[in-house]
Every structure is written in structure tokens, then in C-alpha cells.
Amino acid sequence: MSTSTLSKEDNKDTKAPLGGRFVGGASNYIDERTSLSGFVKELGRKIFPDHWSFMLGEIALWSFVVVFISGSFLTFFFQPTMVETHYTGAYAPMRGLEMSAAFESALRISFDVRGGLLVRQIHHWAALVFIAGIGIHMLRVFFTGAFRKPRELNWVIGFVLFILALAEGFTGYSLPDDLLSGNGLRIIDGMIKGIPLIGTWTSFLIFGGEFPGTDIVGRLYSLHILLLPLLLIALLVLHLMLMIINKHTQFAGPGRTNDNVVGYPMMPIYMTKMGGYLFLVFGTIVLIASFFQILPFWEYGPYDPSPISAGTQPDWYIGFADGALRLAPPHLDIVFLDRTLSLGILIPVAVLGLFIVVVAIYPFLEAWITGDKREHHLAQRPRNAATRTAIGVAGVIFYAVLWAAASSDLIATHFMLTMEGVIHSLQALLFLGPIIGYFVTKRICIALQRKDREIVLHGYESGRIVRLPGGEFIEVHQPVDQYDRWKLIDIDTYEPLVVRPNDKGRIPWTENVRSSLSRWFFEDRLAPLTQAEVEAADAHQHHVTAHTDEIEAEEIQGAHERAGAADAPLHPDAETHVDETPNTPSSVIATDPVKKPRKKKSDDSE
């Protein structure tokens, strides 16, 4: 028996469904089988906050889509095997040479398939953009404190995605089996061999015997197109789901609190902006790939252990590891009891490992130091978290020095320096740079906080100089309008952790350490503002401004009278009278379009 409410629907039949009959029918069909309407209800008008820095993660997301699409095309042509063959195609310097089928198929893609070179270049450029996008997104999340509760897990997932992306990139550029990436594999093999106890066996396992073997390209291919993308996509889905569940953070602003999200809905705005950004990222990458050559592996030739190119560097994202190797001092092997400890390799690897681990667990470290267990949905301005920003800058400098070290020979040739000088300078900078960077950044952040405070309480310097009757010159400070002022006020207030004895009446040393770190983390902070202070400052501001305006008006009127034009206007009005707020588009509350002819206005002391 039918249980439909057919009669009711018949009455509504006279109104056409949204989108027309076909769309209505199709939607009904799908909903009856998938409960899609629930999904649409939940997510269709979901609100996302609007700030350019929130789109940086999309650079990574969309460039991953580009990498995936272009990579899929390449898999139809690439031969991931090291079986020897000969090339007989268009590029003369490679013709007749014996090479692996991997290299040969890469040559064919580039020289003998229409559009093949384009897709290969898109794929490689997009990979560079992908990892750069992850990096810049990670920096944004770090410097705005968006990794705090409840997003610590998402930070860790994102970090793992970063490592997976590095692995994808490395396995990818090693696939053509050319001289450059082959030497990169040689370096990795050398590093693995240096691992104590298991090094030689691990190297044997990975390469299927001695280096280079005939297996490695095929194995890297399996990793590159199957296992790593699987992991990456799974974690990416988890990453985005958590972002949807937790909702996106937003910057503090008028109307925005820790308990709401202010922004625009998914349909139609964000759908369009995100879709548009996908096309723009894709288009930018394709434009770059059309005009700029990347990795001309035909000039490097097939991998052979004997030749090598000057200027042998890995892709940029592996640069920090190569740089770490270059900066290690010599003679670091220790031979003891018939065994060799390759400290020249193990120390750089340990340093890198430590750095990476600190980055991965940073949210937990900061939560432990600050003792902060609240949920945070407001992104902080970096200046308002001075110690964290300074730590971040120190970390970035550390990474950047390692990255720069990877191109030490090119720095030497291009700036006419000795490579020894460059390397020694970078070795020193590796330690001094982060320290100096920390202190300078911390001071700059605190100074910026004070500047914000100054603007909130005293207005901003308008550039108008007024001479008071007593003869002194003052610069008029104009107040900021209340909406912009709110953005300058840091509403988060912190104090260092106070430790209390535990049940046994003692304070464990870990708690003491924690308290010291907490004191260091929150030192040199500004005391919070109160509403009373703000209102008092407002009143004072208005009083001063009114007084100044009054004096100014008198002066001008006096000048007019002396010139015999007592009725001349007191203020120029090439523009309509607008509250002189900082010149951001959002704050120019223009009520009418700008009109050319002057009009007399009453003197406005606001």
C-alpha cells in the first residue's frame, strides 16, 4: 500500500519546483536514494569567514588537484622500469644512447607526444607550488595561533600531509632516472648506509641489492602513484572534515566573537570563490608551464655513477636537508670497536629530525607552557602573541639558513664570493640568526602592540599641524572609528602560570620548569584595556579635537576676514566630509557618491 501523501503534493503541483521540473525530478530521485538533502541542509549555507590568509591552504589543495590530474595523464605514457633500451626520437644528443626505459619514456613524453611536455611541466611546477602552498599555509596557521584547541590534531594531520608531500615530490622527481635525481638517490643511499646497525641492510632492502640496482624506479613509482597518494588523500579528507566540524577560525573584529562565525555562505559565495580560485591556481600553473622550462632532464642524461653536474641540488623542498649536510664540519666519523659511527651524517639528520618533531608537537608544547585549555576560535594577530611569533621567526630563519646552504656553490658564483666563505657564514648564521631574529621580532611585536594601544586611546596622527594661540605646534590626532578600533584591541588576556603544590604538598620540578617557561612566554605583555579607559580616552579625544577645531576655525576665519572674504568656507571640500578613519576600504563609509562641485558645510567638530 502506498503511504505517500499524494493528495497534498497534488495541491502544490501548480508551482514549478526550483530549477525547473527536470532538476526537481533529479534531486528527488537522488534524495530518495542517498538522503542528500540532509547534507545540503547542513553545509549548503555554512558560513565561512573572509580573509585572504585563509585561502592559502587552498593554494595547496588546488595545486594538488592539478598535480593529480596532470600526473594521471603521465601515467599513461611513463614506463616505470629500469630495463635498458635505446632512444630514437627527436632530441639528437640522446639519440642512440643506452638508457633505462623510464628515462626513455620520459624523453618520449617530452619530445614525441603532443602536449606531453606541457603536461609534464605542469605536473612538476604544480608540485613545487603544492609544497610551497602547504608551507605558507602552515606559517599562517602558526603565526595566528590557529593550531590551539580544538585544532591541535588538525595541525598534526597537516604536518603529516606536509611530510607526505615531501615524499611525493622526492619519489616523483626520481622517476625519470636522470643524472640529477640519480645523484639525489645516491646521496639518500649514502645517508641510509650511515645509519648504525641497520644501515647497510636497509639500503639493500630499498634498492633491491647494490646501488643503483634495477628495482628502485619501479618501487618509487608504486609509492608515488599508489601508496602515498592514498595516504595523502585520506588524511586530506580528514583534515578538511575536521575543519568543517571545528569551523574555520576568524580574526577578531566588530561583531565577531569566539562563539560565532561571521562571513559569507558556502552557496553561492564561497563555492564560487573557491571554484574560481581552483581555476586561477590551475591557470597560473599552466601559464608558468607554457613559458618556463623546468628540469630539462635531457640535458642531464640518463643516470650513470660517473658524471655529475655542477650545481647539483634537489628540488627546493628538499633543500633544507641538503643544506644541513653541507653545513656539517669535516672529520666527524668515530671508529670504535671495529664499527664506524658516521656522525657527519647522523648529526645533521638528528638536527633536522628534532626540528621537525618540534614543529609537529608545537601545539602541545605551547598548551603545556601556557596552561591554556580553552577553545580558541579567534585567530590572533601575530603581534599580539609576541613570544610565539618570535619563536616562529627564529624557526623560519633556521629553516631558511639550511635552505640557503643547499645553494652555497651558486651563491658563491653569483655573488663572486668563495664557497668556503659562504659555508662558514651560513654555519655561523645557523646559530646566530635565530637568536637575533627572536629578539628583534619580539621587540617589534611589543612595539606594534604599543602602537596599536596608542592609536586606540589617542587616535592616529592625521598629518594636520595646528598652531595653538600660545605658539606651539601640535599634530592633530584623529580618532579611529569604533569598528576599526575594535580590531586594534587585543581581547585575549594572559598571565603566567601559577604553580600549586600537588597532593603530596610538593611542587614537582617539571611544574617549576613549566612555570618558568610560562613566565618567559608571557613576559613583557601589555595590561588589558577596560571599557572605562576606552571611554575616558574617547571623551578626552573628542574634547581635544573639538578644542583644536575651534582654534583652527578661529584662525581661518580671522585670516578670511583680514583678506576681506569673511564668507569664505572654512574647510576645503574636494571630497565629501568623511570621518578621517584609516584609509581601508571597509572603513570608508561613504553615504553618497563623490560630487565634484563644492558645497558649504557647517563646521563639524566630530
Binding site: 592559502l56 639528437a92 644528443p93 642512440g96 613545487l128 610551497a132 640529477l180 613559458f291 627546493w316
Partner: protein, 267 residues
Amino acid sequence: MAREKKRRSNGRRSPLAAAALIGAGLLITGGIYAGASAAMAAPGNQSTASAQLTVDDGEKLFQANCATCHGMDLQGTANGPSLYGVGELSVEFQLATGRMPLQMQGPQAPQKEPQFTQPQIESMAAFVQSVAPGPTYPSDKTLDGEGDVAHGAELFRVNCAMCHNVAAAGGALTEGKYAPGLSNTSALHIYAAMVTGPQNMPVFGDMNLSDEDKRDIISALLYQQEAVSVGGFTLGSLGPVSEGLFIWIFGIGALVAISVWITAKSN
């Protein structure tokens, strides 16, 4: 005072006027200087009607320009090595690439504008060859660029690319020395450098790389110089470093600029 912001009817110059005047002055003086130095520059490669200079002319040029460092009898001094046995090939190479006369002591002699005309160079080379013979010019066949490009490229990769880079973009050596890029080097000079091993470059005699090998290498390099880079602009052929710099500055830069545009409030 605010009211003077927009009016210029009282005859005051625009602040831009000073900048424009300075800019015009710089352009004029710079232009005069450039024109004058071009007019007074060395005549370059114009061979005159009396093209051939003699060995004696070469000797005079040598004594005037080279003897202070290399000795009147080519025996060498504290400032420059002996030239016994370097041959006319070496002399032509050093002078025609401008490395000699050396401007100042440094990690190595850089390439610069040649200071002599080609006839002068050849005469000095002939003079040195006459005093103490050494490597001489190659046959035309060696320089014809019709050798086996694939074989030459392979030899280049094994013997040369570690200093000069696979794309002949140059590379670093120790203590401020460098192997120069070869994208503008002539076939003769490629040959000369291989045979004479200037400064820290090893010597590649005919017993190391045969004449046929050298012909192949020269052909491979000439091919590379003339070949279109199929993928687009090469960004200096320096590999992943320039690609990484480019993508961060222009790629990420453009994408961040786009994201700022996307989220900016519309007018």
C-alpha cells in the same frame, strides 16, 4: 594647512617638477657619456685592409703589454708564469677572451672585453709561437660542428659537466674560482681551453680526448648553444635553485596577490 592641498593656481611648482628635472638631467648626461665612450671604444673586430700584422708587430705588442709580468724573454716573473711552450693557441685564447692582460690579481682571470684587435692578437700569438712552439690551431674539420652530438654530449657529461654544468651554465670551484658558462664560447675557444687547460682547468690533450672526441664535444656544445629550449625560458639553466626561487617569488607571489584580490571588498 589643509586648504592648500589641491590648489596650484598660485604658481607653485608641482613637487614632481624637481624629479622630472633631475631625471632629464641624468638622461642627458648619461646619454652624452654613453655616446662618447662608444665613439672612443676599441674598434672591435673590424679587419682593416692591412689585416695581417707580422711577428715583429707581435713582439712589439708583447713587450709593451705583457712583458712586465711574463718577462721580456717569456721566462716569467714573480707576477706571471713563463710562456715557454704555451703555443699560439693559448695566447689567442687568453687575449681573444679578454682574460689577458690581467687587470688585477685575484682567484682567477675573469673574461672581459678584449683589449686588442684580432690581427693584433694573432700577431702576438705568432710571436710567442715563434719563440717557443706549443699547441697550434686546430684543423677546420675539428671545429665544423658536424661531429657525433650524442657521443660528444656523453663525453661532455663525464669530463666537463662537473665544473661547467650539464647545460654549460658554469659552476663553482674552491676559494672563489669558477668554471665559466659556455653559452657564448666559440668552437675555437672550446678547443683551445681543452688543449691548453687555462688556470685550474685540467689539460685534455689528444691522448686523453682524441681529435675526433674533441670534435664531438664541440659539436655537442654548439648544438646546445643553438638549440631552442623546448620548455620555454630556461631561468639561467641553474636547475632546481632558480626554479624554486622563481616559484616562490612569482608563483606564490601571484597566488597570494590573487587571494588578496579575491577577499578584498568590492568597490
